[in-house]
Every structure is written in structure tokens, then in C-alpha cells.
């Protein structure tokens, strides 16, 4: 399940808080952020949790895709 989060316009630490609330239940997260610092803070949080983050930018909008490590992969 992909969780969609719109963190644009939110001041720190709200973007991280928004991601933290949804992180455990999501398989992947798609996040909109409005500033480089929000992108960095969210990236740090997700990487701290073991996730992989990719970011694309269009104008002032940053779209972040967070992929969590697979816990059920077979060898």
C-alpha cells in the first residue's frame, strides 16, 4: 500500500511527524515537500528507518518516493 503525504507548506518538524505517523503501515510512501530542508529532514528520517529515498523536483515542489526494505523476501 502506498501512503500519500502532502507536507508542502509545513514548518519543521511537521513534515517528519507526518511521515513518522504513516511510515510503519505503508509499504511505500509518496511525499510532496515544499523546501530543500523538508526534503533533507524527511530523507534522514526514512533512511534512519532503513528506507530508500528518491527525489524529483518540479519548480518548488519535491516529490519523494520512499521504498521500505522488504521484510518478506525469500532467499
Amino acid at each position: 500500500m502506498t501512503k500519500q503525504i502532502d507536507a508542502r507548506g509545513r514548518s519543521c518538524p511537521e513534515p517528519v511527524m507526518m511521515v513518522q505517523r504513516e511510515y510503519d503501515e505503508a509499504d511505500t510512501l509518496s511525499i510532496l515537500a515544499g523546501s530543500p530542508s523538508a526534503v533533507e529532514n524527511i530523507t534522514r528520517y526514512c533512511e534512519h528507518r532503513g528506507g530508500t529515498v528518491t527525489v524529483t523536483q518540479q519548480g518548488d515542489v519535491y516529490t519523494m518516493t520512499v521504498t521500505k526494505p522488504c521484510c518478506n523476501c525469500s532467499e
Binding site: 514548518s11 519543521c12 513518522q20 530542508s37 533533507e40 534522514r44 534512519h48
Partner: protein, 346 residues
């Protein structure tokens, strides 16, 4: 006395994290008409902590101002922190504060009780410093802010400028870093309560003891670590000179738990502003973690003194400081400048 009002909810930025970035500030001040006076011993051209004006052969006046939005919810504690932060600039110059004026922005969301408590915190801290508040100015504002304009005095031959660190000097920091990260984490509900209380208590502490001890040693340069973070303020000490600072990251005191919080992205916007200002002249060796570097850029509120002391006096000074300030540590030293970097973090 307790209030239900949460001051930090009334402001977007907290404490010294609200400071205009050093790079932006420099741009804003460029080109403004500059007049000087033969008696002006320290102006703002070296980004020092206060201006110093000679009154006589034995007396110089130290002048500074500091104010910011709430960094804690309790009004009295906020008043204490704002006052300690403002007074610190006089101590950083080696001076003694004597007079202060309130600078107050009152939000319509604040009760009279909250405003009085904020002021009472400020008054109590100023009196603790041995100074007095003689007036002030207040305006209405959407967000509350508080601070002081402070006047102090220093002997003209004993001014501690921020740009006179000598090659061979040792750097001592008197308070741990991390209050920006801790208060940000607290806003997110993710800071350990004991850690938060420690950060708050630290912010209310005057730099008076550190000042009183250091002036007895061979110290030529000092600054206090506040909104621009350790790296930002260290850069102000080094910039334009022929020396560079080596900072030993493992020796820099940090509030326990802050590295973990930084790695979770609980970083204030001010950290990024400070990084933009200082990273071009800062070289970081491999092996220093991203989270530790973040804390070196973390904006501090009412932070410690960063003292450049003659290496011969470093251990005796540190020992005396640690008798009263157990978190004080030697964090680096000054070397001849190398290349374009003014700071090397190892």
C-alpha cells in the same frame, strides 16, 4: 505559577533559530553608509558579539541587543533564556553587563499573566547577572518575541574580540551543543523529557562564570555560540585572517541523545541556513558522520562561550571551568590557514 498557554505554538521559528542567516545578513548590510569614530574599538565589520566604545583610558562601553520568538512554552523560563542569551554577548567580549532595556513584542494571544511572567523571568535573570533593567520598548505583534538591549563595561585593553585567535591557541567550548535539535524534537513529541529539561536548564544559565574564570588566563579571542551554530561562529572568528580552526568532532560536547535525534531528521531550518553560510569554507574529513556535522551547524540559543586560549593556559583554564561547568571541553586548536578552508573538522 503555571500557565496553560504554550508559547511555542504562537511562533513559526524558535529562539536563535529565527536569526536571519549570516550570509543573508552580510548581503543586507553590504553597501550601507559606514561612518566611524576614533573611539569605536569594535564595530560590526568583524561580526563581533557587541560593539565597544571607549569612554576613558580605563573604561569602554559594550553594547548589544538580542531578541527572538519563544523556544519554550513556559513564559517565565522563556524570559530567563532570552535574557541569558542577550547578556551572553557582553560576557563574550570579556565585559560585565550593567544595564538592560526590554525589547518586547506582545501577541494578542498572550494573557497579561503570561506577559508578566515572561518579563519576570527576564528581570530575575538580569538581576542574577548583577545588572538592572531600566526601561524598554514593546509593540504588538502576531508572534511574541522577547529579549534585551544590554550595556556593559570592559577595560579597553582587555576586550575579547572574536577575530584575534592566535596560531597555537586551543579552543574550549563551555556548554554542549544540541539545543536546536532537542527543542525541535520536543515539538515533535520525540525528545526524552530528561534531555529536554537539561537543554532548557542549560539555556537559562549565564555565561558569567565562564567569563569570570577566563579573564584570568591568556585569552585573546572569544565568542558565544548561538544562532549561527558552532561552525558559523567559528567561521566568524577565522574569516579573513591567516589562521584556521581544527575542530575535533569527537571532543565537542553534545547533549546526550542528540546525534540519534539528528539522524532522524529532527533538524531546525536554522541548521540549513548555517550550513549554507559556513560549508564553503569548512572541510570535513571522512569518517565524521552526517548527524554529527548537523549538530555542529545546529543553531544554539544561549549557548556557551567559545574561547581561544594560549596553549600553555589551556589545561589550567579547562580545569577551573570544569569545576563549575562540567561540560566544558577542549574541542580544537588554531593552525596556519591552509587553502581556502577556514575550518577543518576531524
Amino acid at each position: 505559577m503555571s500557565c496553560d498557554l504554550k508559547l511555542t505554538k504562537l511562533a513559526e521559528c524558535a529562539g536563535c533559530g529565527a536569526k536571519v542567516g549570516a550570509g543573508v545578513l552580510s548581503r543586507l548590510l553590504t553597501g550601507l553608509p559606514s561612518h566611524t569614530d576614533d573611539r569605536l574599538l569594535v564595530g560590526y565589520d568583524t561580526s563581533d558579539d557587541a560593539s565597544v566604545y571607549q569612554i576613558s583610558d580605563e573604561l569602554a562601553l559594550v553594547q548589544t541587543i538580542d531578541f527572538f520568538p519563544p523556544i519554550v512554552d513556559d513564559p517565565y523560563t522563556f524570559g530567563q533564556i532570552a535574557a541569558a542569551n542577550a547578556l551572553s554577548d557582553v560576557y563574550a567580549m570579556g565585559g560585565i553587563p550593567r544595564l538592560a532595556l526590554n525589547v518586547l513584542c506582545v501577541s494578542p494571544q498572550m494573557t497579561d499573566e503570561a506577559v508578566r511572567e515572561m518579563l519576570r523571568g527576564g528581570y530575575d535573570k538580569v538581576y542574577e547577572a548583577g545588572a538592572i533593567i531600566t526601561g524598554g520598548h514593546s509593540i504588538q505583534d502576531r508572534e511574541p518575541k522577547y529579549g534585551l538591549s544590554v550595556t556593559g563595561f570592559v577595560h579597553p585593553s582587555r576586550i575579547l574580540r572574536n577575530d584575534l585567535a592566535r596560531v597555537g591557541d586551543v579552543l574550549i567550548l563551555t556548554k554542549p551543543l544540541g539545543v536546536g535539535v532537542v527543542t525541535t524534537a520536543h515539538k515533535a513529541g520525540l525528545a526524552d523529557e530528561a534531555l529536554y529539561r537539561q537543554a532548557v536548564m542549560q539555556m537559562t544559565e549565564l555565561n558569567k562564570t565562564a567569563r569570570d574564570i577566563m579573564v584570568s588566563f591568556d585569552v585573546k579571542s572569544c565568542t558565544d555560540v548561538t544562532g549561527f551554530g558552532l561552525l558559523g561562529h567559528t567561521l566568524e572568528m577565522m574569516r579573513g585572517g591567516s589562521a584556521a580552526a581544527v575542530l575535533e568532532s569527537r571532543s565537542v560536547p553534545m547533549l546526550a541523545g542528540t546525534v540519534e535525534l539528528a539522524s532522524m531528521g529532527l533538524l531546525p531550518e536554522g541548521m540549513y541556513r548555517n550550513r549554507r553560510f559556513a560549508e564553503g569554507e569548512t572541510r570535513v574529513e571522512n569518517g565524521v558522520s552526517r548527524a554529527v556535522i548537523d549538530i555542529l551547524y545546529d543553531p544554539q540559543t544561549s549557548g556557551g562561550l567559545l574561547i581561544a586560549v594560549n596553549w600553555k593556559d589551556a589545561i589550567p583554564l579547562l580545569e577551573q571551568l570544569q569545576d563549575h561547568l562540567p561540560c566544558a571541553e577542549i574541542i580544537g586548536h588554531i593552525i596556519p590557514k591552509f587553502g581556502d578552508s577556514s575550518i577543518l573538522v576531524v
